[in-house]
Symmetry: C2
Amino acid sequence: MSTPHIERGLAATPGQPTQGPLTHEELQLAGRNHSMPLEALHDDLTPAGLHYLLIHFDIPHVSLETWRLRLGGAVADSLELSLDDLKARPAVTMPVTLECAGNGRSLLQPRPLSQPWVLGAVGTAEWTGTPLAPLLEEAGLASDAVELVFTGADSGIQGGVEEPYARSLTIEEAMHPEVMLVYAMNGQPLPLQHGFPLRLLVPGWYGMASVKWLTSIEAVTTRFMGYQQAVAYHYLQGPDGPGLPVTHIRVRSLMVPPGIPDFFTRRRVVDAGPVMLHGRAWSGHGDVERVEVGIDGTWMPAHLDPPVGDFAWRSWSMVWVANKGDHVLRCRAMDSSGALQPTEQVWNYQGIGNNMAQRVEVTVR
Amino acid sequence: MSTPHIERGLAATPGQPTQGPLTHEELQLAGRNHSMPLEALHDDLTPAGLHYLLIHFDIPHVSLETWRLRLGGAVADSLELSLDDLKARPAVTMPVTLECAGNGRSLLQPRPLSQPWVLGAVGTAEWTGTPLAPLLEEAGLASDAVELVFTGADSGIQGGVEEPYARSLTIEEAMHPEVMLVYAMNGQPLPLQHGFPLRLLVPGWYGMASVKWLTSIEAVTTRFMGYQQAVAYHYLQGPDGPGLPVTHIRVRSLMVPPGIPDFFTRRRVVDAGPVMLHGRAWSGHGDVERVEVGIDGTWMPAHLDPPVGDFAWRSWSMVWVANKGDHVLRCRAMDSSGALQPTEQVWNYQGIGNNMAQRVEVTVR
């Protein structure tokens, strides 16, 4: 079937949120979907093997010989493009921070049942591709086209609905100059797991919009009601929709946990004295304007470096003079839209956009 | 401190094995330590971003300018080598299957508390480096040297012991011609997370022996008693040692789960008719000689392709004519040492080497 059975009232998550222990299903997802170890915040760019990955179904094997991108539907001229055709078009390389909309989900109480991210579902890579808007202009969108549907080669079942992974953008959203079709990541061909040979890249949006293994773009004259668009990825307070669709990345900062870890608990041990705390901050709603570090509940401003790019994180740092004992470190960012990370959870039914300020417990010796 | 307090009776795992639910600590580890999605068994070589990763502490940042490999201790001539020095030596490129000793741990009952691998802690890469034995000959091992200690740049606390990650090999083990110091993976410089700039590679052994971020090799005249050598990585039936040290990889086969998955449960749905089942099999104790596929309890031989290399997995396949209904698929391999994967768990205290035959539940429609 190609449209989800929303009328069945299926929740986007497979069950009620729970106060209960982690399930085997969540463990399987945690094993499959890689997070970025937070020490990788050290670098401007995240290597492909450390960048977060959220893959709904299986990684598909796409043969370059037969693969074509089809651009059709409500357009004057359908296009069918090989990867070479796309590479022959004007190329742009741009650092972009991508984050999974579910980042921080496992920290919510009660816990929505889905991929149980802790905090590492983020990464910044330098993506190379060709802007989408000129392609759409070339195809000639029909005057009654309202959305573009982007479909990947990956397919499976979610919430009882069998579909390929597909998401839509309105014409206006799709025409933004930063929206690209990308075929390289950090100067290398797109890795298999990041969507080889081609993925959509929607800078500033949570990662669900950047459809991997892209096979078709279809202009449609009515709103797309696929599962990943109409059911999943909504801010909801309970199982019943519609709720607000998830779009741009909420402001967030993260810290490289200082000192050394305990293998099992990951608790940090730090030597007394000056400690350089540092991390990254980003937002899809505006520029990051301020980062504050909380030491045992007292907030202090951090130094900010320039952003790595218009749609990429910026580095922050602050020297902390660590005294012996147990301490709680936090960080929070504010963006130019005035949004500030909350220090308490702001719960929602699908566990989306939980940008509550990070909390790092350390023992200073 | 540089030697672990074994006399304190610390268990290698942080607590008693449990029948209980997954802990937040295990979830944190599952998020940090990447497993290989099983569909990556499709390819001879695993891309760096899909290869499994087990990192005990934090990924260290090593500067190539100051980094040197120090080979010293009980040798006639200590050596200090830059990466260029190592690259100038004879180079070997070899596909090697690496697997974490804890692969399959989370499937044990009761469950040892550590990294809760399901089944994907494996990968095969083409590694490039220089054999270790000629370097040892050049340095001239003292006649009373018994072991070589390999120490990484990563450091932390495990079981109450603070140490850099370090493992030893006997002289005889270290002199095997396939033991290498590697600086490239799949034709690229060693990725940060795989040990940049240099890691030890001990083909045929579980991954704990292949020390990442290698900084020193020290010939010693008494057995090394570091935590990762003397406490962790032992086959034990309870908290008290010594038990048998973990060395070579036990025979295992894995299957690419057929059909399409459900996002949350990962349960497979398959269309009725002929289905090509396929996967990989490997062993560190000899050649894989047989793979059998179990369909609802009936075992049948699979076709075997030649191994990818002397220390790498081989492909297997079998056509299954799938009839409607629910089915349980399994696979098991036997190696030239006569070892056969068990169909029931063989439990041990640290959850090591659990090579129980994989079980895949499918619904055929």
